[in-house]
Amino acid sequence: MNEPKPMSDNAPVSPERRRFIGAATATAAGLTLVPGVMLIEVAHGRPDDQAASSAVRWGMLVDANQCATGCDDCVTACSTENGWTPVAESTHPTQAPQWIRKLELQDPLTQMETNLPMMCQHCAEPPCVDVCPTGASFKRADGIVLVNRHTCIGCRYCMMACPYKARSLVHESLNDTQKADVPRGIGCVESCTFCVQKVDRGDGTTACVEACTAAGHNALVFGDMNDPESEISKRLRELPTKQVRADLNLNLGVRYHGI
């Protein structure tokens, strides 16, 4: 019969076991803490109760030289991420919302062709925000221009004011393609949100950029234009870029190279 070891037994625990317990504890602590640290430091994710910060200005670089003819992966990715029906599948193409579209340009004199995606330019001085009667159109501190789904009355004045034709009215009842984190609604105006749900989650990128990179074109870069060390800031320092309708002096969040 085995007698239980008395509690006072001070026989030494094996050194291997002690080391194992120490390592396991450290690993567990590490696994718990690291993602949080990574989230804050790498991707600028922020908790729900923390307001967007003006220290950040989200922006996008479009390299039109890399943007492939006939490729619309960015458009498809946007529609999948944000739950809007692709125009090709819509029964009312002139009324279907399009958050992003591929624009084909041709110089009639030189015949040179350029491809680029066009969407909300996330102006620092957005005309849509100026004209919105209820303040539903607004710019977040981090530069993202959005529409408040609860106070938009569907007057469409912002659509009259936008120089980029970036906005769409939802003309009919929405089907079940809606996403839980992308509120939409009939009778309201909507446009590109820079995938704000992804940005706030800490992904640090947008669906269109991910798709463009995955396709190997690397025509799109997203990031914090206020952070001199971000990839977008570095690229913007090197590449000559232009703003569309720069004459309007709206200080755009989307900059184009190769136009």
Binding site: Q98, G154, I186
Partner: protein
């Protein structure tokens, strides 16, 4: 100064109730149109993501502009002290209120979320011209309402001039606001011009007076009250002056745009290349809306009541066409994001945008017109707005 007897119209004849029922029917059609637009969404209209403001805005803006113009006759009486116009003032004020009501109803019922009107009344962005207009419209109701009160209630008659002057200044500001809804838009070549504000003011003078004259003549003809030529002939000359001024502004506005190379294509679209829009501009706005009425009003034809009415009707039709050209025409021409380049996309960039108004839009707009006329028809029955007689002898006494 001789006194004038104001009297309600009896409003018990079958003819009155037929008019009432006819207008009521169009109000009902308007309500049904709104109901289906609200139920199905704007998908059942001809509007889309290219032409975002359609026929309802054409009617709404026309009625709002005409509303402030309809107040002119009253303004001439009290602000500019012309006793001959005093008996004409109450109808002028009620017509202004009625047209404004009709226009605003069309405007708010065309919202994507017309059920959220309360949001528009409680959330304000003071950088928006639309927000300014919300206050200008409500102020208009308050001031013109008070002004009408000073005309109808002898105990507050002494405030009439003050109320009239306030309403006059307010209506000039209001139409400046309406014109600036377009004038303050930077995106489109045909807008973004301070010319639009004064041009809308002078247009309001013309449209408002044309509607006023038709309503006045109809009211007197249908109630068998005498309406002398003295009143009509003086007002028709004023109308001719307004129309000439409208033409002047239209010419200067387009000439200014033509001088800017960046805006030439857009102006050429309206004046030469726009197909239907160009036809509407030259035939509807210029010929029918301005030139023909001017010829009628300034020649011997303008001495006949019948022809004055024809001229007024043409000015009203021309005014609605002008709003169509101003609102739809400017949207039909594509945004020029990359000047000098040919643009192509799934979102119809670089293309002329087409618009076919739908039945619900038409009936919503007509519903606004019907509401305005219905309110006027009812008001002349319950309030003492119309002088019992406006024959030449009665009017002549007023000026001495």
């Amino acid at each position: 100064m001789a006194s004038i007897t104001f009297r309600e119209v009896e409003g018990s004849s079958p003819k009155y109730w037929m008019l009432f029922g006819f207008l009521g029917l169009f109000v009902l059609f308007g309500a049904l149109a709104w109901n289906s637009m609200h139920h199905h969404g704007h998908v059942i209209t001809g509007m889309n993501n290219q032409i975002v403001w359609g026929l309802p805005h054409v009617f709404a803006v026309f009625l709002i502009v005409a509303a402030s113009g309809a107040l002119n006759v009253a303004s001439i009486a009290s602000v500019f002290n012309k006793p001959m116009y005093k008996p004409l003032a109450p109808l002028s004020a009620i017509l202004a209120l009625a047209l404004m009501l009709g226009g605003l109803l069309v405007l708010v019922l065309d919202l994507g979320r017309s059920d959220r009107l309360i949001v528009a009344m409680t959330h304000f962005n003071f950088k928006s011209m639309f927000t300014w207009n919300v206050f200008l419209y409500s102020g208009f109701f308050a001031l013109v309402g008070a002004y009408l009160w000073t005309m109808l209630d002898r105990s507050v008659k002494t405030y009439s001039k003050a109320a009239g002057t306030a309403a006059f200044i307010w209506r000039l500001t209001l139409t400046t606001g309406t014109g600036s809804l377009f004038g303050f838009l930077i995106a489109r070549e045909l807008y973004g011009s301070s010319m639009l504000a004064p041009m809308f003011i002078i247009m309001s003078f013309a449209y408002g007076l044309a509607i006023y004259l038709m309503v006045l003549a109809a009211a007197y003809a249908w109630t068998g009250r005498p309406l002398g030529d003295a009143v009509m002939l003086r007002l028709k000359t004023l109308l001719a002056v307004f129309i000439a001024a409208v033409l002047y502004f239209v010419v200067v506005y387009h000439m200014t745009l033509l001088y800017f190379a960046s805006r030439q294509d857009a102006v050429a679209f309206i004046l030469r290349d726009g197909g239907m829009i160009t036809t509407l501009f030259w035939v509807g706005q210029i010929l029918i809306g301005s030139v023909v009425p001017l010829v009628i009003l300034l020649t011997a034809l303008g001495k006949q009541r019948m022809w004055i009415m024809v001229a007024c009707a043409l000015i009203i039709v021309g005014g609605i066409v002008q709003m169509y050209v101003t609102i739809i025409g400017a949207q039909a021409f594509p945004l020029d994001m990359f000047p000098g380049m040919i643009e192509k996309s799934s979102f119809f960039d670089g293309q002329i945008h087409h618009y076919s108004p739908s039945m619900p839009e038409l009936f919503l707009g007509l519903g606004g017109v019907a509401i305005a006329l219905l309110v006027t028809t009812f008001a002349v029955k319950v309030l003492r707005l119309l002088p019992a007689s406006l024959d030449d002898a009665t009017v002549a006494k007023l000026e001495h």
